[in-house]
Amino acid sequence: MSLDPALRTRLHRLLADYGAKVRSLIDGHGLGHYGIDPADIEQEVRIRLWKALERDRNAAFHTSFIQRVVLTVVIDAIRAANARPVEALPEVPDDAGMAFIDPTAGPERNASGINDFDRIVGCMAELPERRRKAVALHLQGFSLREIGQLSGTSEEAARKLLDRGLESLRESLAVSGIVGDIE
């Protein structure tokens, strides 16, 4: 593609700004914990988008195309990280409490956490499917509005499913001996 230097510089700046935002979003959503390097992702996204521009400067860059480029790079990077040998993983556990074993907790508390988690999952399995999904999405941090959108229901319907699901879960957990906070 023959571009005048001013336009080339402008396009590079746009892609650089976007790359920086992608990197910031990767950090903000905790994707770095899955073994990917946000700086590598940023660079790869910029390269791929620039190549796409070079291939056809007249092609419209739809939102979905740009998103697809970024998500492909991220998912490929996670796949590569998963395939990496165990010794290549960082030695120090992450500091955001995302690791399976909490380094600040003693072995007894970690074991207790695993048991609690297994019991929570067991109690959730007893819920009707739609309630279980609403509860699980809530526990994953999605808002009522998001749960409604993702499940194809209204926010009000999502709220009812969640309320009933959480009520049943509290009762089941109490029977299992877990009296936890479920907000």
Binding site: L14, I26, A136, Q140
Partner: protein
């Protein structure tokens, strides 16, 4: 351990932590399904992915990331349009409507395919019937012929011996012709 206030386990925190730590075992999502789910579309693929999101912290993080990416990507698309002096496009609107348009297009394709399949079946039935009709008449003719054969066999029976005698008589007619020729000579 991640306990919340009053020493009670924070169920949400616990669930998130452990579903993230077990994420490596879950298959990674397909990009198209992830985009569709992030855009609020409903299909079998998005239903399956939503179930994965519910039990895998990594899938949940990726979905949130994909949703957060949309406005920034729309902005970049618009900026590129302006920089390359292309007619401005409503990127967000296009993203939202493209899947529905694709679904409608798929619906029409399905109808067209159904009509085409129906026509093929109709033509096939018609042509089979057409080929079967002559076959049936041929069979009838064959039966008739075979009946005649049998009739001929029956003719040879002593009860119909007169028939063969007629043929024999015909030979005598040629004798007459011979006689005629002989007399003329």
């Amino acid at each position: 351990m991640n306990s919340s206030k009053f020493g009670k386990p924070d169920v949400a925190n616990l669930y998130r932590r452990f579903t993230r730590s077990r994420a490596a075992a879950a298959p990674l999502p397909e990009v198209d399904a992830l985009l569709a789910l992030a855009d609020g579309q409903q299909s079998e693929e998005t239903d399956r992915l939503l179930a994965d999101v519910a039990r895998s912290g990594m899938h949940a993080d990726l979905l949130r990331f994909a949703r957060a990416l949309a406005p920034e990507s729309a902005r970049l698309g618009a900026q590129l349009d302006r920089a390359l002096e292309r007619p401005a496009a409503d990127h967000a609107r296009r993203t939202r409507h493209a899947p529905h348009a694709a679904t409608a297009k798929r619906g029409w394709l399905r109808i067209a395919a159904s009509v085409a399949a129906g026509l093929i079946v109709a033509v096939a039935v018609w042509s089979v019937q057409r080929t079967q009709l002559p076959t049936a008449s041929t069979t009838a003719a064959t039966t008739a012929k075979s009946d005649r054969i049998f009739a001929a066999i029956d003719d040879r029976s002593p009860a119909n011996a007169s028939g063969s005698d007629r043929i024999f008589h015909a030979d005598f007619k040629s004798d007459r012709i011979f006689h005629g020729k002989f007399s003329g000579g």
